[in-house]
Structure formats: C-alpha cells, structure tokens
C-alpha cells in the first residue's frame, strides 16, 4: 500500500508541477530577498517550449537546457546572480532541476540603470512581430508571426514597491524571420526600447558567467 501511495503522489506531482520550475523557484527566491530588505532585483528568463539548447557546464558537463531564470540582486554593496533551470543531463535524463549558488558579478551599473529607467521600461514593452501581407491580392492585412519553436523571454525589474515585467519572443526583436521574409513592422520601435537595451545587457552578462556557476 505504501508503494502505491508513493507512486500516486509521484504521478500527481508530475501532473501539477513540472513546468516553469525556474520561474516559480525564482519567484520564491525574490520574495525571500525582498523580506530580507533587498530592494532592487532583476529577473531574466528564457524558455523554448518542447525544445532546448546545448550548454557546456564545468560542473554538470554537456546539458540541454529547457528553461532558465536568472536573478540579479544587490546586498551589502555587492551584486550577485543566481540561476534556476530545468535541463536534461548528459545521460539524457529529462526534467532535472538545478539552482546555482549566488555568484558575485560586476553588474552594479546595470541595476542602477534599470532602477533609474524603470518608468521608461514600464512604458516601453516589446511588441509582437507584425508582418504586412496581401493574401487575396486586394486587401492589406497585418498578421502576428508565430514561429514553431520560439524563444520566450521574460524580464522583470523590481525597485522598492515599483515593479514591471515584460514577456516577448526572440523573433519580436528580429527584422525578418527569413532572408527574404517580410519586414517586422515593430522592429525599429522594439530595438529602441529600454526593455530591449536591458535585454542585451542581461544576455551579455549571463552568457559570460553561466559556465562558471556552481549548482
């Protein structure tokens, strides 16, 4: 009977809680940091549904990451980041989860810039990849481009009681989705937004340190 209960509990937990591990766990960590008095936090996450990308980790070896969330925060004058992720390990076992230890990074300027520009970030979300077509040769239509395996990106900035979160896709920031594909009508706006600038900085910092993280 104990075994049956154990298996049923396992089944139920798989049904209810397999997705979005990193975002949920990062959320709990952010709440913990806020309760400790940390007032400037940046969250940066990426997910590719039904897909993943290969990474080389010093500690974990070659892994396929399904989704991750980084949390940047400042405490006692130092800036740290943590990473939360779901991945397949080098043996191909799917659904593994990991939380990195806090790592000291040089990102004070980014946190200060985000805190100073939070009002602009709130006002400037990244808009969908919109293309113009003439399907019947008569009427012009405006359609949303939906790629099959897009990179979903989410960024959150929390400064004191103010907070903002934006979700967008990698393709929203591309001029076109193929060499001769139609122009993304929101491209010029998107790449001028403060949200996009913050995304570029977050991407650069996280790519430079992700292999060094300890889990």
């Amino acid at each position: 009977m104990t075994r049956i209960v154990f298996i049923l509990v396992l089944c139920f937990s798989c049904l209810c809680g397999q997705a979005q591990f990193s975002r949920d766990t990062a959320y709990r960590q952010i709440k913990k940091l806020q309760s400790e008095g940390v007032d400037t936090i940046i969250r940066y996450g990426k997910i590719v549904p039904m897909y993943g990308w290969i990474e080389q980790s010093k500690q974990l070896g070659e892994i396929v990451v399904q989704e991750y969330t980084f949390v940047f925060y400042q405490t006692k004058g130092e800036t740290y980041l943590m990473r939360f992720m779901t991945y397949s390990d080098s043996a191909g076992i799917m659904g593994r989860t990991a939380v990195s230890k806090p790592m000291k990074v040089d990102a004070e300027l980014m946190l200060k810039w985000a805190a100073d520009n939070i009002t602009t970030i709130i006002k400037q979300p990244i808009c969908s990849h919109i293309i113009k077509q003439k399907p019947d040769g008569v009427n012009t239509v405006y359609d949303i481009y939906y790629p099959s395996h897009t990179e979903g990106i989410n960024i959150g900035v929390l400064v004191g009681k103010e907070q903002v979160g934006h979700d967008f896709t990698f393709e929203d920031c591309q001029y076109n989705y193929s060499d001769n594909g139609p122009e993304n009508l929101n491209y010029s706006y998107n790449i001028q937004t403060s949200t996009y600038k913050l995304y570029l900085i977050l991407q650069a910092i996280t790519q430079s340190v992700q292999n060094e993280l300890k889990y």
Partner: protein
C-alpha cells in the same frame, strides 16, 4: 492509509475533466456518420473567463453556460440543429455537459451558401485585430488583447472535405471602442466567407436558442 489513497485518487480525477465537450461533439458526429449523415456545420462559441446565466429548457432558470457547440445537419431533407453545452448547474454545485434534443431549423441558405464556397472558406482566414499607434517618428502595431475574449470556430464537413476557421469576436470590430484605435484588418475580415457564415450562424442560433431542450448527464 486507505483514506490517503482515496484522497489522492480524487485529486488525480479532478485534473482530467476538461476534454468532455469536445468528446461529446465527437460522439455526436460519429452517431451522424452511422446514420449516413456526412455534411455538418459546427459553430463553436466560447466566452473566456465568463459565463452568462440564462434560462435553459430542461436544466433550470439560471444556468451558467461557458462553451457551446451548435451542430447543423440535414436528415431526410430537413434541416436540424443540436447543441452541446458546458455549463454550471443552477445551484453552482457541479459542472456538466448537456446535449439538446434535435430541433428543426431552416438552414437551407446556410448549407447552400457554404457548400458552394468551400474553396473560399478554406482561404477565408480571419486576421487578428491589430491597431497602430504613433511613436516618435514611427508607428507601433499592437494586437488587441481583451480580458474576456469571445472565441468562435466554424467547421464544415462535407464527405471527405473538412475545414475550419477560428477567430475572436473583436476581429470583426471597426474600433477597439467608440472612437478608439482602428482595426487595420477590418476591411479584409468582413470580406471573408467566414464573416458571412458567422453572421448567418449567429442569426439562426439567436432565433432558436431559447427553444432548445437539453438533457444533462448528471442528476441533482
């Protein structure tokens, strides 16, 4: 230990009840096929996060309906309609699926119009409500997002032909609100066969909705 086991089984069973309406429609269509009926038009109506309390014959005076599938067909040359609904009971204690008894409707023009335009229906894709706002010396194009969208599907089956179109009610609006941002896809959307069919279906359903008599699967 047995109590724990029963509790866990209950939780597991709660997590898998949502496909019921689609399954019910599928079983009705299979029943049509067994009776030699292979031409149907299905009109699916869903109001996300919203239900409308209304009097429904056979079920009660204040039934909250979420999703509805109206299936039009012809049997022995006569136009007929059945509806499958996903609803909350009058006292709010349970959700259930109910199917109406077949109801005669005049749907000759609906079938004539759609069956002559199957190719146009295939191409009758409805584009989302997109509006433009000025930004500095540029423009930003934004898809309209509403908190409680109404979703519709129109599906036509005729022998081996099967096709469907999905859209939101807002896609056929000219503006987001009075004098609000303009729907850039409005001229195309209202020129589609899908739009014409949507109006015909809506008009027919409005005429007979209150006459349908439903039978639920659960007993109070």
């Amino acid at each position: 230990m047995q109590k724990i086991l029963i509790g866990i089984l209950c939780l597991l069973s709660f997590s898998s009840y949502s496909q019921d309406l689609a399954d019910k429609v599928k079983s009705e269509i299979e029943s049509f096929h067994r009776r030699g009926i292979d031409t149907t038009i299905i009109f699916f109506v869903a109001f996300v996060h919203t239900g409308f309390p209304r009097k429904v014959k056979g079920l009660g005076d204040t039934i909250m309906i979420f999703d509805s599938d109206y299936i039009f067909y012809k049997e022995n040359g006569k136009g007929m309609l059945i509806a499958c609904i996903d609803y909350v009971s009058e006292d709010g204690t349970y959700t259930d699926i109910a199917v109406s008894k077949p109801f005669p409707v005049n749907c000759d023009s609906l079938f004539d119009y759609s069956l002559k335009r199957l190719d146009d229906f295939d191409r009758g894709y409805v584009f989302p409500f997109v509006y433009r706002i000025p930004w500095e010396n540029d423009s930003v194009y934004i898809p309209l997002k509403t908190s409680h969208p109404s979703n519709f599907d129109v599906a036509i089956s005729a022998g081996t032909y099967h096709s469907s179109q999905s859209f939101k009610g807002d896609d056929f609006d000219t503006n987001a609100y009075t004098n609000g941002p303009r729907n850039l896809n409005y001229p195309h959307n209202i020129s589609t066969v899908t739009y014409k069919l949507y109006n015909m279906l809506q008009e027919t359903v409005d005429k007979v909705r209150d006459e349908l008599f439903f039978v639920g699967t659960k007993k109070k």
